[in-house]
Each structure stands twice: as structure tokens, then as C-alpha cells.
């Protein structure tokens, strides 16, 4: 079975008394080690899909198998557990805790994974080294540039060796040169550590760097293309 398998998945939001269908009839299969972009116009349901992929939210209909396990029916607690063990997140707005330094931010998933303090510290430093920020371990987020903050966030996403890293517009707040650096890091992690990447982007240039592009429109999968051309 594929790493990610979605079958006829749907999500309906309740806005007051009105039902807002955000996703409909999603059938999607993602293999381990893929490097994939989700694209589509604003409001098409990309973030909604990412939230469900990341087990931050549950679908209202259909099935979602992650790594062979049906996670569509899990409760909050179990979803938290799945997130902790299998998923790393990179956000557009970095989402680092502002009052603790880089290495402590990176340690965060390990705290909830019950890793002991010394091992936590070691893993966090290793992760920072992977994103080229070993020398910034003691810096607070406010003392780092946007690109550096996003690298800390990437270190946090990969510190507990997840199967998959989900990134919703990870370069949305960064200039093109820094964006390229970030994409480079993703590509290396994908190649060397076999981490699956799913990222949302508006930028076609970025989309063209991916192995596969899924197009979403009005909550439905409209296109699914493999990229054989240019590579990063």
C-alpha cells in the first residue's frame, strides 16, 4: 500500500447553519519518497487537504490511510500521537515559539515524544546541523532572518525522523533566493533521508522543481502530472 491513500475523501465545514464543502471525492495516492506539490487557486481547498493529510483535522467523509493505518476515524489524542511520530510541519509563517532559542524550538516534538533531555539535545543539534544552522543554536527566533527561521522550522519538522513533511506555502514569506535555498534543503532531505514531501505552492517555478504536481480546483482533484523535465 502507498504511504498515503485517500479514498473518496470529503470535508464539509459548518459555517453557522450553512454547510461549506471544502473537499469532495478526493482519491489520492502518494508513495513513500515522493516530492510533490499541491497547486490551485486561492480557496480551492489546498490548506484543508494539507490539514487532513497532517492529521490536524479529520475528514467528514471517506477514508484516509497513512502508512497502512486508517487515520480518518482517529480521535484527537491519537491524531496528536500520529503527528508526533510520523509527520513534520513547515508553515508559511515559520511558527517558532518566540521566547525560546532555536535548539529548544527544534526539541519541541521530542518533548512530546518522551525523549530524554540529553538525547533530545543531541538530536536537535544534529537537525540544526542538517539545515546549516549549527552555529545559531542559541539564537532566539527574533535574532534570526526569515530564511534562518524557516530553516529552524525545518529542523523542527525533521527532528523526530518523520515519514513525511508537509509544508503549506513554505516559501511564501521569503525572497526568491532564500526560497531556492529552502527548496534545496527539501530536495536534499528527500534524496538523502527518503523523507516524503508534500508542499503547497502558488509559484509555478517552484512547482516545476517538484516530481509531481496535483492540481486542486473547487475542492476536487483536477489534475495530476509527473514532472520529467527540469530538476533541482
Amino acid at each position: 500500500m502507498a504511504l498515503i491513500q485517500m479514498e473518496n475523501l470529503g470535508k464539509v465545514y459548518q459555517a453557522g447553519t450553512v454547510d461549506v464543502p471544502a473537499l469532495e471525492e478526493i482519491d489520492l495516492s502518494i508513495e513513500s519518497g515522493e516530492f510533490l506539490a499541491i497547486m490551485g487557486p486561492s480557496g480551492s481547498g489546498k490548506s484543508t487537504l494539507m490539514n487532513i493529510l497532517g492529521c490536524l483535522d479529520a475528514p467528514t467523509s471517506g477514508k484516509y490511510f497513512l502508512d497502512g493505518e486508517d487515520v480518518s476515524e482517529l480521535g484527537r489524542e491519537q491524531r496528536a500521537d500520529v503527528r508526533n511520530r510520523k509527520i513534520g510541519f513547515v508553515f508559511q509563517g515559520f511558527n517558532l515559539l518566540p521566547r525560546i532559542n532555536a535548539v529548544h524550538n527544534v526539541e519541541l516534538p521530542l518533548i512530546y515524544g518522551h525523549v530524554n533531555a540529553s538525547q533530545r539535545h543531541e538530536q536537535a543539534r544534529d537537525a540544526l546541523k542538517l539545515v546549516g544552522l549549527a552555529d545559531r543554536a542559541d539564537y532566539l527566533p527574533t535574532q534570526l532572518s526569515g530564511g534562518q527561521q524557516q530553516r529552524v522550522a525545518i529542523a523542527r519538522a525533521l527532528v523526530n525522523s518523520p515519514e513525511i513533511i508537509l509544508a503549506d506555502e513554505p516559501t511564501g514569506n521569503l525572497d526568491s533566493r532564500t526560497s531556492k535555498e529552502i527548496m534545496m534543503i527539501f530536495r536534499n532531505l528527500n534524496r538523502e533521508r527518503k523523507i516524503t514531501f508534500v508542499l503547497v505552492t502558488h509559484d509555478h517555478e517552484t512547482g516545476d522543481l517538484m516530481d509531481r504536481k496535483i492540481l486542486i480546483r473547487d475542492g476536487k482533484v483536477e489534475g495530476d502530472e509527473r514532472n520529467c523535465g527540469e530538476e533541482l
Partner: protein, 409 residues
């Protein structure tokens, strides 16, 4: 759940971010716990003090004074009633079986002169049973005997304060001093006794035989009149019996009819001290209520600031949830933060309370005892306040939806 050490570290980390706010939030708890510590320390000290004084006054004491008891108002001024005589006291001593010792008093303030020094003090005419009742030994010299009492001998026994002021380092026994110009020979010096519950220095007094005081020194308006008879009952259980016997005896001796108002009153010293204890208890209750209200207000303050904190840190909560924090992790994080606030406040309160009790003790001269058990209970209680008032905000935090929390600005 995360390991408790990490949770506590996280909690104190958050509190450190806004030290002033944390301190202000703790204030109610600080005041509440401080008040409790002072209250218990001073209360215990005062109780000990009163107990000590009761013991120094002699136990199981009954006071008989002329004039009707207080219920019938102030129609007759205490000094204007001349109805109690030393023969009454003698009769009590002889006839009331529940009575152990009896003494009769006639005292007044007088100038006491020795050489070129003089000292104003109260001079008591009394019987030597006074010292037995009050368990008050001599430091040196001797008591006046029955024979000296009978012939109104001009002999005096001095309290320590009088000795210090009149004799300094000189040896007082056998010396002659003048009270109201009447020469008296010093035959004894009493041990130090301390203060009465009202704060009078018991050592600032001179004792002479009752008859000497009545006839040679002050003179009484009526023959053989006394100001009070002090009676010691055989034991605590026989106090009511002794009171009854005295009452019956004096009613008979004074020929008071059934409907007539009594011209004497019998007071039980234990009751007097009970009143003192009661007013102490009222004070303790008052301080206790202040403490309780402060703790309540402090608790509400903690709840308030924790709710603010949950709102401010919604995004942080979202981030923590995204990386795998469970319901219980978030709940315990905020709960521990509330408890940390309350317990820190409790600790500061304990320290301030101990300092306060110490200052109070220095200022009032009362002993103040801070009991470790009280400190422990106070800290545990502030922890409980933290749990109680921190629970709702913590619950609110843990119930947040991760996506909404992450989207929060």
C-alpha cells in the same frame, strides 16, 4: 504526558517572561498566606502568653469584691461600697470547704523612700497566703508570719522592680525604708514574676501585712474594710462549688433578703480569661477572614491572568499541538503554570509572614511561634488554590482546536 520536570521548566519559563505581571498576580496569595502565617504565629504566641499569665496569677482563682455585680449597672461606684470586711475573708477561709486558700487585700499607691531615692508604687496590704496562691516564692528573706499580721508589724516584702529602683546593687534585707513617711523594715524580696495579662508589672509592688495597711498606712473608711478577697478553689472542678459556698456564706453574713440586691460579687478568674481568649479568637477569626478573602481574590487573579495568558499564547498552543502535544500535555502545562504562580506567591507570603510575625513579636513583646506544619499547610493550600483557579483556563487551552489555534494572530 510530558515528564514533570520538563513541564515545570516550561511553566517557570513562561512566568519569567513577564516577571512584573507574575508578581502582581501573586500578590493576593502573598497577602493571604502572609496573613495566615502572622495570624497563626501571633495567635499561638498570644495563647501561650495568656496561659502563662493565668498560671502566674494562680490557678482556680475566684475574686470577691464589694458592690453588686455588673448586670445591675453602675449605680454604685466600686469605691463607694464599703461592705466587705476581713472577717468575711476569714469566714470564707474557715467555712467554705471547696476553698483552699483565701487572702484579703487593701492597697493603694504610695511614695516609697530609701535614702535619697524614691519610687512610686502600689503597696499591698495582704495575707501571706497571697504568695502561696500565686505560687510566688521569695528570692531571699522571709514572709510575714500570722503574729506580725495580727499586731500590724511594720515589715515589707519587695518586688524586683522596686528593689532595682530603690536599692540598685545594695543589699535590701534588714534595711529600713519609708512608705508615706512610716518606717518599714524589709524582711523579704520576691522572685521576678513578670506582667499580668493587662500588661501591669507585677514586680512593681510592695507587700505589707493587711492590718498594717489598713491601720497604720492608709486607713480604711470603715473598720476592717477590704477591697477584695482572693480565693483559690481546691481544684478546677470545685470552682463552681466554691463560688456557690462563698455566695451563700456572704449572703447569710450580710443578711441579704431574697429579693434584695447583693452587696458583693463573686467572679471567677477563669471566666475573665475566657473572655480574653474569646477576644483573641475574634481577632484570629478576623485575620483569618482577611486571609481567606485575599486567597480567594488571589485565586481569581490567577484565573484572570491565566485566561489572558491562554488567549495571548493561542498560537503557541497551536504549535505545540501540531508537533504532537496531547490534551493532557497542554492541560498540565497551564495547570502547572497556575500552581507555580500560586506556590511562588505562597512561598513569598510565608517569608513575609515570618518576618511580619517576628516584627510583631518584637514590637508587642508577645512571643510568636512559626510552626513548620503551618508553613507546610499554607504552601499546600496555595498549591490547591492554583489547581482550583488554574483548572478552567488550562481546560480552555487544552480544548482549543489545533488549526484554529495556529491561525490565531
Amino acid at each position: 504526558m510530558t515528564n514533570p520536570f520538563d513541564a515545570i521548566k516550561t511553566a517557570f519559563g513562561s512566568l519569567k517572561v513577564n516577571v512584573l505581571r507574575s508578581l502582581l498576580t501573586m500578590l493576593g496569595i502573598v497577602i493571604g498566606v502572609g496573613a495566615v502565617i502572622v495570624m497563626v504565629a501571633v495567635g499561638a504566641g498570644a495563647r501561650e502568653m495568656i496561659g502563662e499569665q493565668i498560671r502566674s496569677m494562680g490557678s482556680n482563682m475566684i475574686l470577691v469584691v464589694p458592690g453588686a455585680s455588673q448586670q445591675s449597672g453602675a449605680r454604685m461606684m466600686a469605691g463607694s461600697v464599703h461592705t466587705l470586711k476581713s472577717s468575711d475573708a476569714e469566714a470564707i477561709s474557715k467555712e467554705c470547704l471547696a476553698v483552699k486558700y483565701t487572702a484579703a487585700d487593701w492597697s493603694d499607691v504610695a511614695q516609697v523612700v530609701y535614702g535619697n531615692r524614691n519610687w512610686r508604687t502600689r503597696v499591698w496590704g495582704t495575707w501571706q497566703t497571697t504568695f502561696l496562691m500565686r505560687d510566688w516564692p521569695l528570692r531571699c528573706g522571709r514572709m510575714f508570719g500570722p503574729e506580725e499580721e495580727k499586731r500590724a508589724a511594720k515589715v515589707a516584702i519587695l518586688g524586683q522592680t522596686v528593689v532595682e529602683n530603690l536599692f540598685g546593687d545594695a543589699y535590701p534585707l534588714g534595711k529600713v525604708l519609708r512608705i508615706r513617711n512610716v518606717p518599714f523594715t524589709v524582711i523579704g524580696v520576691l522572685e521576678r514574676k513578670g506582667q499580668t495579662p493587662r500588661g501591669d508589672d507585677q514586680d512593681d509592688s510592695v507587700y505589707v501585712p493587711l492590718r498594717t495597711s489598713q491601720c497604720r498606712l492608709f486607713g480604711t473608711p470603715f473598720l476592717d474594710e477590704i477591697q477584695a478577697a482572693i480565693v483559690q478553689a481546691k481544684d478546677e472542678a470545685s470552682i463552681p462549688e466554691a463560688e456557690k459556698q462563698i455566695d451563700e456564706l456572704l449572703t447569710r453574713r450580710h443578711k441579704i433578703g431574697r429579693k434584695q440586691e447583693k452587696d458583693f460579687s463573686v467572679k471567677n478568674l477563669a471566666e475573665i480569661h475566657e473572655t480574653a481568649q474569646k477576644s483573641l479568637n475574634i481577632m484570629t477569626t478576623l485575620l483569618g477572614s482577611i486571609a481567606a478573602i485575599s486567597l480567594l481574590v488571589g485565586g481569581i487573579g490567577i484565573m484572570n491572568i491565566m485566561l489572558v495568558s491562554v488567549t495571548e499564547r493561542t498560537r503557541e498552543i497551536g504549535i505545540r499541538m501540531a508537533v504532537g502535544a496531547r490534551y493532557a500535555d497542554i492541560l498540565s502545562q497551564f495547570l502547572i503554570e497556575g500552581v507555580a504562580l500560586a506556590v511562588s506567591g505562597g512561598l513569598i507570603g510565608v517569608i513575609l509572614g515570618i518576618v511580619g510575625a517576628f516584627i510583631f513579636a518584637r514590637a508587642s513583646g508577645w512571643p510568636a511561634a512559626v510552626d513548620p506544619a503551618t508553613v507546610l499547610v499554607a504552601i499546600l493550600f496555595s498549591g490547591a488554590v492554583g489547581v482550583f483557579f488554574g483548572f478552567y483556563p488550562a481546560l480552555k487551552a487544552s480544548r482549543l482546536h489545533p488549526i484554529e489555534a495556529l491561525r490565531h494572530e
